[in-house]
Assembly symmetry: C2
Homo-oligomer: 406 residues x 2
């Protein structure tokens, strides 16, 4: 799986370049293209303030097919009114026009636009009018093309985020590879900042949509860095069918294998987002069990994962488990205080409503790992559970976000 990028999937081309949108002079324009039309499913932010690319993207997703994605970083094209929508459409238009010589089936409505960066500024269209045709000439199916794509969509991320897997379906090898970005403004409610998964599986758009919805719910929708659901969250999966197996149906072991593979890729990507949360020094897995419903389990896990008191205690390695339990307590989830238990790593610190006799030094030791499990059982006697990825809260998060100037 090492060295695999999104272009490891047959039939996909990608690339990125410096278009001059970011002052840092890092890559800021990225393109992903399937040689053939791909069945596609996408989910977008549930924020009521959405970026112009989301408005255009929702419309372009109606057909259930995409030919590619065009993404810029450095400016999110959010809160930009009609002019912003016009600009997002022009990005699709420019992309399609530039690709037609190589890919005659492409149309502007088969391009998914994406923009990430500061809110409230208009896109520098002159730069995009020059950059997009240039990029269309540079995309390739090489590993470096996939690597460039993963770099081109980043903002405050400190590293690229990729995952890939191969599954055997009906005698064929099927690749599933994904790329994502996200570090701050991360509490996806539908999908994360930007994530793109390519596969050569053969699957019809409606079934792909259903599969994506379920997988995203258990992966990207279970990550939070700072509870601030972005206005640009986008997850898109493109399946171009080139693997050559029989088209997947919505039951049976083949579909289950595909779903498990997609889940594994999305889980790996979403974990990378939490671990690269702004200022993060630790990956935290919050596990809530014994909940009376799935919604309760999620509420409690999210309350723990979003509490600044929990996140600072983890950052400081302070075995202050009262903060973990009390966050579940205010989450709104039903719980039985007298049956509640809490574990830090593998150490039980609270059982049946009372502190255990464990030495705080033991807990402190458990908190030193760079990957930490916080487990809370709500004690309702029912078995619903949820797992959320998050990270600690450090001075570096404040530095990044207070000293960042618009």
């Amino acid at each position: 799986m090492a060295n695999e990028t999104i272009t490891s999937v047959p039939g996909f081309l990608a690339g990125a370049l410096r278009c001059g949108i970011k002052q840092s002079n890092k890559p800021d324009l990225a393109m992903l293209v399937s040689r053939v039309p791909a069945a596609a499913a996408a989910v977008f932010t549930r924020n009521k303030i959405v970026g112009a690319p989301i408005i255009v993207g929702r419309r372009n997703m109606r057909s259930g097919h995409l030919h590619g994605c065009i993404i810029n970083s450095g400016c999110s094209n959010v809160c930009t009114g009609r002019r912003g929508i016009h600009d997002a459409r022009e990005m699709c238009q420019l992309t399609a026009e530039s690709l037609i010589p190589q890919i005659p089936t492409v149309t502007p409505a088969m391009i998914l636009p994406g923009s990430t960066g500061v809110i409230g500024h208009f896109l520098p269209m002159a730069k995009l009018r020059a950059g997009i045709p240039r990029l269309a000439g540079e995309i390739s199916d090489s590993q470096s093309g996939g690597q460039a794509f993963a770099e081109g969509i980043l903002t405050t991320d400190t590293r690229v985020k990729m995952a890939a897997i191969t599954v055997r379906l009906g005698g064929a090898s099927v690749r599933i590879a994904g790329v994502c970005k996200g570090s701050g403004m991360i509490a996806p409610n539908m999908a994360t900042m930007l994530a793109y998964v390519a596969t050569d599986a053969a699957i019809a758009a409606p079934l792909l949509r259903q599969t994506v919805k379920s997988v995203v719910n258990d992966t990207f929708n279970c990550v939070t860095v700072d509870q601030h659901t972005s206005t640009s969250d986008t997850f898109a999966c493109l399946a171009n069918g080139l693997a050559g197996h029989r088209v997947l149906r919505n039951t049976g072991p083949e579909w289950e294998k595909f779903q498990a593979g997609l889940l594994e890729v999305c889980d790996a990507l979403s974990r990378q987002i939490a671990f690269d949360g702004e200022g993060a020094t630790k990956l935290v897995r919050v596990r809530v069990s014994g909940a009376a419903s799935a919604a309760d389990a999620r509420k409690a896990a999210m309350a723990i994962a979003n509490s600044p008191l929990v996140k600072t205690a983890i950052h400081g390695g302070d075995p202050n488990w009262g903060r973990f339990v009390s966050a579940a307590g205010y989450s709104g989830a039903r719980m039985r205080a007298d049956r509640c238990t809490c574990q830090v790593g593998k150490v039980t610190v609270f059982k049946n409503g009372q502190p255990t006799q464990v030495h705080l030094g033991t807990v402190q030791q458990a908190m030193k790992h760079s990957e930490l499990d916080i487990t809370v059982d709500l004690g309702t006697g029912r078995a619903f559970a949820c797992r959320v990825y998050t990270c600690d809260l450090s001075r570096q998060y404040i530095t990044i976000n207070a000293d960042y100037h618009t």
Copy 2:
């Protein structure tokens, strides 16, 4: 109003001393007593994990009357099971026994216990058995007694929090004076960490309860430092009736004057909590208008006030207003993106879904004040509004909470 403490209210005695619970050797045991039984109303945290003093306090509030309050800081007596409840009851027992020589009408059930500090540790009862009788001999109606009480309930607070007012009711001067504490683990859902208001107004317990509920909803329930609703939140109001006016009825100008006075005291106290939020350098008033319901207005205001991205932007003085608008967007409140407006201080930065032409330097200037207004109109065309107090998020918050060791 300067120099007025809770003992400015006729018939109230107060004091505090060092009992040895806090390692810092600061005052950690405080007592407030009315010479005569007082009509009383209290509201407690809605966290499902509650401290033992809340469990005992809820029971003691059933009669609608209190004689006093006993509060320790340095240990919250939360997550301590049956032994914790027994300890909280013993605090009331010790208080009543020690007071009987001076105040013959007192019983343990007329004492409201309170504890604040770290979660998951048992109270050092030997210290309390020595401290409570000693404190009962030291309480007084002097200004210094009131001042000591305000100091004795503090934990990470950097200053005492008091407010007082005098209203004229039916020819009599009625005092209303309050004291509170709270700096971290502040997102009261029913009341804040600990707040005590004394008045010599004559009012029956049921009407007092109704008045308190409404006032607390608009004041303490509209403060957030870190969205972490504490397990110990308690607000109690004791009205001993010594002002000598006719007992208040639930309508008319007299009751309205009392309610307005109580609102003013609670507003001043809750503002002080936000301004003394852990690590805070600024008081922030988030105002949301144009909401489709009161619940929507509150949701949007709380989402803005709790977003770490909003709070760090304010800390850094970064005019990144997209964070304010997008927080309202993910709050779940209904809004019309194309009619939404946002003001930073008095500067309109976003109007009808588009950025205004204002220079960012002007916005930056507006953000330099130590008291900042963030105003968002959700544009639904309806008139519901909400105001929430909060503070900025600084490196100091992380230092306080990551380096704090249990």
